[in-house]
Amino acid sequence: MKNRTTRVVLASEYPEVRYRLGGLVKKEKGSVVVGEAANSVTATTLARSLRPDVVIMDSRLPYLEGLDTVALSRVGGLDAAQAISQEIQSTRVILVSNLDTNVFGQRYLSPDHEVYLSRQTAEGSVPLTLREVSDLALQMSVPIFANVETQEPKSFREQVAEDGVGGKALLIVIENSDRARLLGIFAVIGGLGLIATYILAPIGMALAAIGAGALLLGVAGKGATALWYKSLLRKKSRRAEEAPEESEAVSSSTHTDNKYWCV
């Protein structure tokens, strides 16, 4: 039961928001999107028929159809969240209320931008995971009020350090590759400068050659590391995908593989 899949329904009028929320779900191990809704009536119907573990709902949700010029036509999120929370005790509803400012408010949000759920507290915002939400007490019959936060995409080094795939050796290789590239660039520039003085040209040529070597080594080192890292990630995710599927097959045989696209 430990590795049970967290089944999620997404509700937002906008496909872009659902796509972003889908990415957030995909990132969490053992979570899967089982349905999507573009209005509160469909969201409630899906929650009733699929009985998901979690519903992530945009608070600005039309009841059935949103009128572009009328803001009042998009006030159905809270009502649907309350109705689902009261009616389906096994489903946790996360009501997100800053999607209009945080997803559409940013001029450019690349697909690499990190998107995660958070809860506001007096001390600041605290990240919220789907696993944490689905593990909450079952008698809770009120929605969980949350926000979606975005973060600049991480650099390759930050990503490796966070994932912990490949260990410290990988980080050392990346660091030294970066260092070699930088030293190589300086050596090549210095060598070219010495060649220009004519008298010290032989030393300059040697320095430039060493520099070019270091530069190549740095570039190749980082490239090879990236390839190796990707293959490690692939293996890791394959292992992760295999594990929850087995346990889900034992705990529940319905809806796991069916995705309902009611939008």
Partner: protein, 163 residues
């Protein structure tokens, strides 16, 4: 007196109070206290005695109407969603001083709560302030009424049963 600067600035940010003089804003600021609510908290409930009128400084608040149906089937319906600088809880200055809706925080909210009784007296005593505030409030009410009518008309037009 200096601590009222934040309250005055907040009042100035709202369309309802922005035309008032600095002195008038200071008088209203003295009737106000800042309050904070967690996301999900209820600021006031429908049918509660309306003692305060609120200005939303931060966060989002949903106004809900409680509908009670047959067999104890009660349902909450959101009728408006408010953002920064919007004023709500007008029942505090309108008889019978009972809230007609509930206010639920969708996000952690900071509000300025103005004492309804004292604010009502101020509007009566200082008629220029009274006129300016009520004039702006009517504007807000009118725009919401127009929006509600648009919604009503569009829903009637789209509803296949109404032809």
């Amino acid at each position: 007196m200096t601590e009222r600067v934040a309250e005055k600035r907040a009042l100035r940010g709202s369309s309802v109070f922005q035309t008032l003089s600095d002195t008038d804003l200071e008088t209203i600021a003295r009737l106000a206290v800042e309050k904070e609510y967690e996301a999900g908290a209820v600021i006031f409930r429908q049918n509660d005695a309306a003692e305060e009128i609120f200005l939303l400084r931060e966060g989002k608040v949903a106004l809900q109407m409680q509908l009670s149906g047959p067999r104890q089937m009660s349902k909450s319906v959101t009728v408006d969603m408010l953002t920064t600088n919007e004023v709500f809880g007008w029942s505090a200055i309108v008889e019978p001083h009972v809230y007609t809706l509930s206010a639920v925080c969708l996000q952690r909210a900071k509000v300025l709560a103005i004492n309804g009784t004292r604010f009502g007296s101020l509007l009566q005593e200082n008629q220029s302030v009274g006129y300016a505030v009520l004039n702006k409030l009517i504007g807000v009410v009118a725009s919401r009424l127009i929006e509600t009518r648009h919604l009503l008309i569009s829903e009637r037009l789209w509803n296949p049963k109404v032809e």
